[in-house]
Symmetry: C2
Subunit: 335 residues, 2 copies
C-alpha cells in the first residue's frame, strides 16, 4: 500500500520534463538513447507504473472487452470464457465479465453497464429478447454474439444443423425410430436451434421426434425422468450434458437400464460426461475456440473492417456407453 509514483515524480528525479519521460517510456524515437536509458532506469528504480485510467482516458480507447454469460458455473460458458480470455489477453485486452443468471432483463442491464467500460462487447449465448438485442447492437461499440445469429454483429456459433444430424444418424443407425428431445431454457437461442434442426433432420430421416421442456441443470434432467419413462421413445437427446447426467441418474435410481432399455445422448461433451455411469454419448465442440474466434472477429472489426462471415464450428460425435441398439418391443413398466 505505497504511494503512487507519477510521471512528474520520475521527471523530477531524472531531471527532465514529463513529456520526455512519457516519450522515453513509450519508445518514441525522438528521444536520444542515453536519455531513454536513464529515464527507464529512474522509472524502474522508483517503481513507476502508468496510471491506466489516466492513460486510457487520454487515449480514448478502452482496452477492455465486456462479456456476458448466462451462468458462470456452467462448464460450457467457463470454457468459452477461457478461450476468449486467453485470446484477448494476448491482444493486450482484458475481460470484464458479467453474469446474467439466465435473466434477459438482467442481461440488458449488464450490457448497459459494461458498455461504459468496454471498447467491445461479447454476448455469449445471449438470452436477450429480439428487442433487447437490437438495443445492445445500437451501443457505440462493436458486438460479437456467440451462439446466436444476428445481423450487423459478429457471429460465432456451433453448427447445430451438423450437430443434430450427427446425433440422429447415430441413433437411427442403432435402430431408433422414436426419439425424445428434452429441451433447455426457453430463452436460449441454441435450444431453439437444436429443436429446429432436430425436427428438420428427423423428418428427413423419417424419425418420430417428440419434445418436452427441460432446463439447463442436472436437476432439470432428473425431474424429467418420469415423463421420459412414460414416453414411447427408445432414445433421448438432452439439451446438454448436465441435463443428460441428471436424467441418467434418475434412470439408475428407478432401475431403468441404460442403454439396453433407453439410449441417452447429448450436446456439448463437458469433461464430466466421460465419467457418468454409463459414460454419456455426446457432441464434442471446441468451446474455447468459440471464444478465440469471437476475439478474432472483434479484432478485425476494431481494425476497421466489416464484420466477417459467421464462423460455424462443426462438432464431433463422441460415442460412449449411454447409447446402444434400440430395444425390440415397447417398454412395459409400472410408474
Amino acid at each position: 500500500m505505497a504511494e503512487r509514483v507519477r510521471l512528474i515524480d520520475v521527471a523530477r528525479e531524472a531531471g527532465t520534463s514529463v513529456s520526455t519521460v512519457s516519450r522515453a517510456l513509450n519508445g518514441s524515437d525522438l528521444i536520444s538513447p542515453e536519455v531513454v536509458a536513464h529515464v527507464r532506469a529512474v522509472a524502474g528504480q522508483l517503481g513507476y507504473r502508468a496510471d491506466k485510467r489516466a492513460q486510457e482516458f487520454k487515449l480514448g480507447r478502452p482496452l477492455t472487452v465486456g462479456v456476458t454469460v448466462p451462468d458462470l458455473t456452467n462448464p460450457f460458458f467457463s470454457e468459452v470464457l477461457k478461450g476468449l480470455n486467453a485470446a484477448a489477453r494476448a491482444g493486450g485486452y482484458r475481460l470484464l465479465i458479467g453474469e446474467s443468471s439466465e435473466d434477459p432483463a438482467e442481461e440488458l442491464r449488464l450490457v448497459d453497464e459494461l458498455v461504459d467500460y468496454s471498447g467491445a462487447l461479447v454476448l455469449c449465448s445471449s438470452r436477450l429478447t429480439r428487442a433487447g438485442l437490437e438495443k445492445a447492437l445500437a451501443q457505440p461499440v462493436p458486438v460479437v454474439c456467440i451462439n446466436r445469429t444476428v445481423k450487423n454483429a459478429g457471429v460465432v456459433a456451433i453448427d447445430y444443423r451438423a450437430a443434430s444430424r450427427l446425433l440422429l444418424e447415430h441413433l437411427t443407425g442403432l435402430g431408433h425410430r422414436r426419439v425424445l428431445y428434452v429441451g433447455g431454457p426457453a430463452t436460449s437461442w441454441s435450444d431453439g436451434e437444436r429443436r429446429r434442426t432436430l425436427r428438420r433432420t428427423a423428418r428427413a430421416l423419417d424419425v418420430t421426434l417428440d419434445e418436452i421442456d427441460g432446463g439447463w441443470s442436472g436437476n432439470h434432467g432428473y425431474d424429467a425422468g418420469p415423463t421420459v419413462l412414460h414416453s414411447r421413445a427408445t432414445a433421448v437427446i438432452t439439451f446438454n450434458d448436465l441435463v443428460g447426467i441428471g436424467l441418467l441418474s434418475w434412470m439408475y435410481d428407478n432401475g431403468v437400464e441404460v442403454p439396453s432399455e433407453l439410449s441417452v445422448a447429448s450436446y456439448d461433451d463437458i469433461p464430466i460426461a466421460a465419467y457418468s455411469r454409463p459414460p454419456l454419448t455426446s457432441l464434442r465442440n471446441e468451446r474455447a475456440k468459440l471464444g478465440e474466434l469471437a476475439w478474432e472477429q472483434l479484432t478485425k472489426r476494431l481494425a476497421g473492417a466489416d464484420w466477417p462471415a459467421p464462423d460455424l464450428l462443426t462438432p464431433e460425435l463422441v460415442v460412449r456407453a449411454s447409447t446402444g441398439p434400440a430395444r425390440r418391443r415397447a417398454r412395459i413398466r409400472a410408474s
Copy 2:
C-alpha cells in the same frame, strides 16, 4: 455506434454550464429543483452517458475489483466468482477476472496487471509462492485471499480442520481404520491444509493415513485408480469431487464395487457429485458465500477499517452412497 454525448453537449442544449449539469446529474443539493429536472430531461433526451473512464480518472477511485482464479472451468471457482460478482455488483463495483491456469508465474503476472485497473484484489485459492504473495501484498491496493491464510490481508477460507474431522469421523464410524488421501496440486494451499488436518485428526482418531499425489481433475482421479486399488486402505478421500468422480469411474471400469469394496469421499460437493454413480459422499461448503464474505472484508477495509479477523466457513457432510461399512478382510485381487 453513435457519437458520444458529453457533458458539454448537454450543457449547451440545456443552456447552462457543465458544472451545473454535472451537479444536477449527480444529485447535488446546490442546484434548484427546476434546473435539475430540466437538465435531467435534456440529458435523457440526448442520451447522455457519463464517460466512466474520465469519471473514475477524476475521482481517483477505481470501481473495479481484480480477481484471480487458477481455473475458470472448475465449478468451485465459478461459484466463488458468482458470489463475489453478485456482492461486488450490489456495491457498485465490477469484476475484472484473471485466470492463472494453475501457474504461479502467470498468477504473479496477472496480479501485476490487474492492480493497474483495480481498486482491490481478490486472490482465489492463490497458487503464488510465499515470495510471490509478499509481492502481491505490497501492491498499493487492499488484497483479500480466499482459501489461503496470510498476514496483512483479508482472509476467507473453509475450515479444513472441521472438514477433515467430519470426513474421518464419518469413515471411522463405518469401521474404516486405514484411509488413503488422493492429493491435489502441489501449489495448492488448501491441499496442504487438507493433508495437515487429515494427519492430525487421523492421529487423534487412531486411523492410519496414507497419501498419494493426484491433481484437480477427473483424469487425475481416474489415473490414480491402480495405485488406490493396490493400497491397503478401505476408504479413500479425494482432493475434490472431480478427482473423486474420476476415481469412481475407474473403479467401475475395473469391477471394483463401491462402497462394498472401497469407500470414497471427497471435499466440495459440487452439483454433479449428487449424480455420479454411486452418488458421492462429500463436504458441502458455501462457495458463493466465500465470495460474498471476501467482498464484505474488502468493503470494511476500503472504508478505512483494519482487516477483520479471518472468516472461516464450516462445511457440512453430505453422506451419499459412495461410503459404506468397511469390508472385513484385506482385499485380494489381481491387478
